[in-house]
Symmetry: C2
Subunit: 580 residues, 2 copies
């Protein structure tokens, strides 16, 4: 794919070798202090404070003007009052600065006078070919430079997301939430009034960056809707772009004008524009990360057919309702699948979808059931509920009954041992070697199933295969949304490492491996949920959502994106595919 | 108010002196094991395992039949297969047992045969005047007896809520979420198939209990809608009843039939019934606790007019949009208030509602602004955003600038000292003594404001008064929804105690006191929000919601309840009130 000029143009912004911070100060009660401190915490290039009244700032020699700095400057960070920005921008042009970020507020968002000031700054920057972020923004983050040119000390985790936000607080809270939820960012830009670089420019730039897997945006208004569609639709064919866009109410539109100086525009028009551009639109800030996690950890579902497996009927009811509201099909199960589940569940099980064993204590059956469902052609995805509740159940049960703990331990240990083994002999172990692993793992599994009183040979065999598969997982490549291939473990590097301190966590880790194996094998998404609202967190690679409702929303967005990709391909009709 | 027979009838259920656990066992792989263990963990009365094959269970002498127990039995817990329940219920009648909980599944939810079994058990119980929970339930919790007659070891916090749930998993997850979120339960009942005691009976019973402040219910279907309305509308005039009711989609209705054996019924009909009964209906499980926390910590707003105070414009945009969607009025500010805020905020502030200081660093102004808004007659409530983000900001800033920390410490210390003082001389300090406290606190405040460079006398005075008010708070009574009075600190007993380990937490605690003081003084709700999704937690008495959207939903429900109470009173028209 040919690259746009944007990649070269924004290079000095995201990978500067030297930075001048205009307004850096020793006065802790100024933004110039916290911004300069933030840049110092991490950035490896040269940093020069520019301050006409202080000779040094936080131990760095200060310069009265940018032009006084003896060495070349790639990036200028502006943390000075708005009326002074234009003059300093002239200095930057003279100095040969290549990029800027104008944190200073008091431009287009304040009215006509501010808009004139902004236009003047833009005119000067254009003259010197300086591309800049802002004005009226909170700054940005670039993982490749470890550069945190941000007003406040924002906690950032490094990862595969990129975010551009027309609100520094909403953007900052998403980045901070990501930090807590174990998902990180390669780039984050608080874009402010978008005088120079537009929202669609950032998205286009992120589109070309191989480190960025999913793009997020908070948008208050677009300066040029057509340009946005043209640029963004090229990106959405390569990777998902998820957008949060308020402004459907008059009061929010008014607040937007006063905040970012944007025109919120008609919500209907935006929906059409987003659909044409292939953008996934969400309604709440937390859904940006919810959906991003879905894209990062799951393959795309082929269609809308879903099966729900739940440890309790009421969970299943709420999840089924949410799926229906999101336009997913909670399918009828074929008779032969019901018969297969009759063999492993007690007679009181739901005998339908949602699949609810109705309080069955045989958790081996609960773990082997998903595979019987994923095998079905008509099943496109699976929601597996009570993921962490299950591990808490096993561990509290174990604390009451050491016999269970003793029986479970060999299974967990064998997984642990195989982890070491796989890292040493990764080449040897692969999808073709599951049967080898089965032989080795069988004694450990036997101890557990006999402790649980399970005698059905097929059930024992299914579980043995599942444990072996879990051990082998991580060595099998899974397909990416757009058809490319990657090892799933690549995602894990950005995730929180599981702490395996308690049995509950060990069981959780074990479950994570089981799910990953099933996802890899059947190439269908499995969305998991936790037991409680606060219980969502990453274990290994998977993410467990706080409720069936949030899981259903994520799944619906994955379907929506797959349908969009299909519609892009339909322009080249495959005539034979319609024939049986 | 005259009490219904239900109070006496359910007394042996919630305050039994002795319990027989039918099906208690030493086999850790049975529900009879974990249920018996759960009861043993806490309950102070006598406990008797009933098991015909084991002579002792977990160290307690076991009896083959209930009738073999030598002492009187108040409560029977059934954890045996469904077909055996009727015969044992006959024994219970013979023994004079007064209450039961049938955890066993396999009754009405499985079809006609199970329904016949259930009718038989009901007939026998009626004969012996035994009231019972279930069948097909997970058990219940009674704080007054510390009784956890539950299938699994559920973490429960003691507190002012009561919950009845037609789903044990959804109910259990709400109780467990409450444990995590710092809000507890006086009663929790997983009511199962409601063969005997109906949903409305539990709600009526909770209505009479002075320990219960807010009632929650998860309902899949009602057996008698008219009876529900008649019983519940008497309760909702005394205290709020919040309901989650799925079943508006065909697939959920089908799942409900297979789960609880209920008919989901028409959603429109339910909405009408709930409105007539004065029930607050929510859409998501987490909203049950969200709204309950609103009722517990805030007075009811007089109307729909809200002001939003936000540390950032984009937060304000999303919150204003959410308020508008919930039917709240984000009001225009009067000119004189805008002028008053012009004095303390920089010129770039939003000059409207949402009130956004647009990155002003003077956090004293941010803290004194709410009072200027609450004073206005036309303001019914306030949403105060970035509550915990603010404390993180102050603390991270302090770590960079020890001067700020040094300046803030005297204010925090003076609050800490006054805490000790107030506990010793609570009688002396009251709303009338704020001016006395002001004199003492002024030196500490002066240190802080001079460090921040604040010179405006009025701003300093406002802040001094606020700090003094915060110190005095907790000694001033606030009015309850239904017009009764209680000290707000009564709520705090059930809340998580704040750990004051870091400056961020100390500042959070300080803010909590400020908010509480304002709520007490102006008798208007102040809903606070955190910075990040995961950041919601209790500090002292207040609760900070994860987003403006969730805050807006809570506020809308408080308004809805006030409007309902108003409509109840309108039946006695006050003729004079229409005149100016």
């Amino acid at each position: 794919m040919s690259r746009s000029p944007i990649v070269e143009e924004l290079e000095p912004l995201f990978n500067p070798r030297s930075v001048a911070v205009i307004g850096a100060t020793n006065n802790w009660n100024k933004w110039g202090f916290s911004t300069f401190s933030s840049i110092l915490s991490g950035f490896g290039g040269k940093v020069y404070p520019v301050n006409s009244r202080q000779s040094e700032v936080l131990g760095h020699k200060a310069y009265a003007r940018v032009t006084d700095i003896p060495e070349p400057i790639d990036l200028a960070v502006f943390v000075i009052p708005a009326p002074s920005v234009a003059a300093v921008m002239e200095d930057c042009v003279a100095k040969g600065v290549r990029a800027g970020v104008i944190i200073s507020a008091g431009f287009a968002e304040t009215g006509e006078e501010g808009k004139a000031l902004q236009d003047e700054v833009l005119r000067i920057a254009r003259k010197g070919r300086i591309r800049f972020i802002g004005p009226n923004c909170m700054g940005y983050w670039s993982a490749s430079s470890n550069l945190r040119a941000f007003m406040i000390p924002l906690p950032v985790r490094v990862g595969p997301l990129a975010l551009v936000s027309q609100g520094g607080n909403v953007g900052g809270s998403i980045v901070a939430s990501g930090y807590e939820r174990g998902i990180g960012f390669h780039r984050y830009v608080s874009c402010g009034c978008t005088a120079d670089i537009q929202l669609e420019d950032y998205i286009e730039y992120f589109g070309y960056d191989p480190e960025v897997k999913v793009i997020l945006a908070y948008i208050e208004g677009l300066n040029d809707g057509k340009r946005f569609i043209e640029k963004v639709k090229r990106v959405t064919r390569k990777k998902p772009v998820i957008v949060l866009k308020p402004g459907k109410t008059a009061i929010a539109a008014k607040a937007i004008r006063s905040h970012s100086g944007s025109l919120a525009g008609s919500d209907v028009v935006h929906n059409v524009a987003f659909r044409r551009a292939g953008v996934i639109r969400v309604e709440l800030a937390e859904e940006l990360l919810d959906v991003a996690l879905g894209f990062l950890t799951q393959p795309l579902p082929k269609g809308r057919n879903v099966v729900i497996v739940t440890p309790g009927g009421s969970y299943g009811v709420l999840c089924a309702e949410a799926c229906a509201c999101e336009g997913l099909n909670v399918i009828e199960l074929p008779e032969q699948t019901i018969s297969a589940l009759d063999r492993i569940f007690p007679p009181r099980w739901s005998r339908g979808n949602p699949v609810d064993p109705a309080g069955d204590r045989n958790f081996i059956a609960y773990l082997t059931a998903p595979e019987k469902l994923l095998k079905l052609d008509q099943v496109d995805s699976l929601i597996f509920m009570g993921f962490s509740g299950f591990s808490v159940f096993v561990s509290t049960l174990s604390s009451q009954a050491p016999a269970l703990s003793d029986a479970f331990q060999p299974v967990l240990t064998s997984i642990g041992d195989f982890e070491k083994l796989t890292s040493l002999t990764a080449a040897m172990l692969g999808s073709g070697h599951i049967s080898e692993i089965e032989k080795i793992v069988r004694p450990a599994v036997s101890t557990l199933v006999s402790a649980l009183g399970i005698e059905d040979d097929e059930e024992i065999y299914d579980f043995t295969r599942l444990v072996a598969g879990a051990i082998a997982s991580g060595n099998i490549a899974a397909s990416l949304p757009a058809g490319r291939s990657r090892p799933i473990s690549a995602t894990n590097e950005v995730m929180a490492q599981p702490r395996r301190e308690t049995l509950a966590e060990e069981v959780g880790y074990f479950l994570d491996r089981l799910i990953r194996y099933l996802v890899e094998t059947y190439k269908k998404p499995i969305i998991t949920t936790t037991f409680t609202e606060g219980g969502a967190r990453l274990r290994g690679g998977q993410y467990a959502y706080p409720s069936g409702q949030r899981a259903a929303k994520v799944l619906a967005k994955l379907v929506e994106y797959q349908e969009y990709l299909n519609s892009c391909q339909e322009k080249v009709p495959e005539e034979d595919s319609a024939r049986p």
